[in-house]
Amino acid sequence: MFKLTLTRILYIIILVIFLILFVSLFRLQIVEGAKYEQIAAKNIFRIKTIPPVRGEIFDSQFRPIARNKPSFNLYLTPGLIDDKEVVSEFVSNNFDISSKEMKEIIFNNRFRLHQEILIVQNVTFEEIVKASEKMNYYPSLSYKTEAIRQYQYNNHFTGHIGRINEDEYKKLKKDGYTINSLLGKSGLERYYESILRGKNGKKVIQVDASGQNLNLFKENLDVPPENGADLILTLNNDLQNFVSNIFPKNEKGAVVVMDADNGGILAYVSKPDFDPNIFSTNISTNEWNRILKNPDKPMMDRNIHGTYPPGSTFKPILATLGLETNTIDSKTKLIACDGGLMVGDRYFKCWWEKGHGRLNVSEALKVSCDVFFYDLSLLFTLDQINKYTKQNMLTVRTEIDIPGERKGFIPTHKWYMDNYGKYVPIIGHKVNLSIGQGEVLTTPLQICAYYAALAKNGRWTQPHFLCKSISEKGTEDFIPETKTLPVSAENMQIIKQALWNSVNQRYGTGTAATVAGVDVAGKTGSAENHMGKVTHSWFAGYASNAEFNISYVVFVENAGHGGSISAPIAGQIIDFYNRLDK
């Protein structure tokens, strides 16, 4: 009789398992073999990624700033290459790419055989016509129509998009980026990459050439792409273009105009500038070098990448510090200005050689007397000034919504000891700092945000470009951060009156900025610096009437006095904005 021993049970189990595998394999390879052979040969079953449409960028009036424009791109499928040399030769003869670059692309993508690799963007119609006859001999090459980015004018804030590089691809693969993806490389394009991009869709391709459905998957499980959100900026294109045009030709510098009520940027100009479209067109190496090696650095965004001594635009910091600590009050008159002040063994000049006499804080701000602030600074330690400056959000990142912002700098007592030695007469440096010169460095944007906070009686708002983003899912508003500066309402009034006087009263330094129908206040600055003999010209302040409340900064590198160079520009800008149909 058959007895169920352990060995026999094990034999039976193993036999059954292998029979199942054997029969399944027989069915798959022998019975259905021909069907799968056909699918494999025609290479029908595929999953296609459908890229989303990138969101566009508009100004506050829905006028375009960055748009999508169709372009022809040339692609290579490495798995279909017959001969590397011949293909590279053909492509380099007909398109704008060298044979060496082609071979590099082929080598880098040798394990992505079945992916289409972008090799030339923006192929011109002439190139297509020229190459079209012979394209049939190269099954590995194909065209696709895709969108490229087009920027409406020169600027530093949109940034640009570019092809993903290997490092970025490794990091972003999991988010659905492919080796051909374009992504924001700088500016708004980079900062808002995640919402501009949208989400890939997916489609199962399982229909052969004759239209027969393979039915590998019964249900339709395709996922449509989610298009990227459009960005609506607070910027006004008219104002932006006006500012860009009136900025003195051949000068370097920066201008920001900001809505003081909500921190929205209205105009943002840095000169010299460049055309962000150069990144999506095929420009020659020569032209590239011309831009990159230009000593004026056109690619640099002076508003946030440049840090400069703020000159007298810094004086309200010292003035409020004095008032807030009750070191002085509105009536306190400090040492008489006779054209300069002896501090230690050094003589510090006032910009007005004839001297201003004895002044109170309001008068000193109005005429921008240096001696008053030299004397005032002697009543504080360096670290007190340092701390208070940072509390007023100067030499601190504003966290504006474009990447790469610099912090600026203000030294501490320790910094001088470390860098100049133990016995350095710090007092002299401190005196120089009090009028915004020497080691203190700020970005023009920080100055603009500071004066906006003065306009709002101490409420500081994070400057930003984005007003709202609009997508299929709905609208999302940008909500800026706010802070309260350490200045009492009473003291704020004293400072604001002085800044108003500076523009609107006789002997004020900023009288060139007056505009009919608008209440303008501001502070000039002429900062000595190591970049040239002539001072940096600053003018910063705010302007309001019943319709608007804006702040501005006009900064011109090594151009002269703030009152004569920057203030008139500010006046024109305010006047234009006042008359602008908003």
């Binding site: 060995t7 595998l21 798959l28 390879q29 590998l216 998957f217």
Partner: protein, 402 residues
Amino acid sequence: MRNFDWPIFILLLFLLFYGVVAIYSASATKIGNDFEIENYYIKQIIWIVISLVLLYLLLKIPYTILEVMILPFYAITLILLMMVLFMPEVNGSHRWIPLAIMNIQPSELAKINLILALAKLISEKHISDWQIINRSILLSLAPVILILLEPDLGTSLSLIISLFAILAVSDLPFFYIILIISPIVSVITSFSIFSFIFFLLVLIYLLYKSRLSKVIIGFAVTINTFFFFITPVIWNSLKEYQQNRILSFINPMRDPFGAGYQIIQSKIAIGSGGLLGKGFLIGTQKNMNFLPEHHTDFIFSVIGEEFGFFGCTILLLLYFLFLLRIAKKIAGLKRKDFKYAAVGILAYITFQIFVNIGMNIGIVPTTGIPLPFISYGGSNLLINILAVGLILKFINEKSIFE
């Protein structure tokens, strides 16, 4: 080495050789007329050599020394399993502890460890049925749960399979195993009242035949009915994505962009291989790189495509003879703990072969289990070879007690 079992060892060498050939092809890609070959096959050969040296040492160490080390080693493995959860994630799970020269995979250690510990503790003399159940649950619970947390469902399942195989050959009456498994069947059958009633009747019949008291039968029926009713409640309380994840595991075709895609690509590759295959190195589907990891979990698709039904049958035959030979030798083992451990090892190797090939040909859900002795991978290969080494050692040691 009088009783060294050469057939098992030689079949093992054949399997390893087959694996190196398959890995060589899997890591080759064809561009035009050139091949790009990644060096996985060299690494695999190095691992094989290291593993065989260790296997030789294993045979030389007296078992009494190994036996003393089983429980401390079990404790160390548990600590490693806890550590691995804090390691950086690779492909969505925490499986590896990176060391200077290699990454170790504690779940692989756990397999062999748990089997040895179980075999030792439940083969003791004068042990009651309840002690067997308690000890096996106590020993398996921690490693199974820790490995599930990684998450590595495949390895957890192979531990459970080994556990049941060991219990099945132990002195424990068979109806206990029926009792332990029955709630799982209840959960599975809960989608249809008829299948559940049918299962319940079979269960009652089996328990009745085992001459159990009515109280125990009644208890079993109550527990199973409870599972039948609670399952839909738990199911409905799951979030939709959680339900989808479970359904996609059972039926990968629900997820065409993930597991379903891989299974179809694997089926196309194997199916298009036909009777004789497309030939060494020139599988078109493999060269299109449709499948990720085709030198590890999907290596069978390369074998199927390039060597065809013929090549697959040879591989199946090698496995079949290898497993039969082990099964035959197990019956001759006199020591209980040897027998239990050998059955546990046999069970998990068989399970891995079935699940991996089954996944490649689309009859089993995807679980990420490599193909024993064939797939590329250091820890897995080493542990599998050492497991075979243990069986060879058991067969060899027999002589001392005879």
